[in-house]
């Protein structure tokens, strides 16, 4: 359980690094935004899942659940807002 938890954490962290790498590798702001939101969400999700395995107690799970909910709600909005801002206007 512990090992799996840490493995998920490491995987998540690695994915975060990959997302950061994406900033440098992807061609334009909109594409980079995909990296910043989607990969990062997955990374955080993996880390939180790992943490849930590492700390199997309700006090932790409640918080992890709340955090996941908040992230799931805010990340797409952030993504939308960023994309909206970075994209050329429709009427351009």
């Amino acid at each position: 359980m512990n090992a799996l938890g840490w493995a998920l954490m490491i995987l998540g962290a690695a994915l975060l690094a990959v997302a950061a790498l994406g900033l440098l590798r992807l061609p334009d702001a909109l594409s980079r935004q995909h990296a910043a939101t989607k990969a990062a969400t997955l990374a955080l999700g993996l880390m939180l899942a790992g943490l849930a395995l590492l700390q199997p107690s309700p006090a932790w799970w409640i918080r992890i659940g709340a955090l996941v909910a908040v992230l799931a709600a805010t990340v797409p909005i952030a993504s939308h807002a960023l994309a909206r801002a970075a994209a050329p206007r429709a009427d351009d």
Binding site: A73, T74, I77, H80, A81, R84, A85
Partner: protein, 141 residues
């Protein structure tokens, strides 16, 4: 910031405004035992106010601040200062906090002047920083 309206942001911010205020209250109430407290609570509230202002306009956000931003701030400061006054009546030093138990339906609630102090901190900071953000946002509308 005069971006044109977005239904997504309007819907979510209208919802999140209350979520953030609830979170702010939560941080305020449990600050004595876990991370949080008046200042952070206020910052979350300020964030809510600012987000509301961004999406629905400054006037709408200001209308949601009771007493107006600076009045709120003054109220907060007065509350925080006043929380230290009861102790003076008991002959103790200023800001000596008093604790009491309040029985509400079989639940023993700890109430104290500390909470008033923290509430004062939160209101003061919310009003001041929220008001400042609103005023600043107004300049670029």
């Amino acid at each position: 910031m005069n971006a044109e309206r977005s239904v997504v942001l309007e819907t979510t911010v209208a919802f999140f405004y209350w979520v953030m205020l609830a979170a702010s209250l939560w941080l305020l109430l449990r600050g004595h035992n876990a991370p949080g407290g008046g200042f952070v609570a206020a910052l979350v509230a300020v964030a809510a106010t600012a987000a509301h202002a961004l999406v629905f306009g400054v006037a709408a956000a200001r209308a949601r601040l009771p007493f107006g931003p600076l009045g709120l701030s003054a109220l907060g400061l007065a509350l925080a200062a006043a929380s230290g006054l009861p102790a003076l009546l008991l002959g103790q030093a200023f800001l000596t906090h008093l604790w009491g138990e309040l029985a509400v339906g079989g639940l023993a609630l700890k109430i104290s002047t500390v909470l008033i102090f923290d509430l004062g901190v939160a209101l003061c900071v919310w009003g001041a920083l929220g008001g400042f953000c609103l005023r600043l946002l107004e300049t670029v509308r």
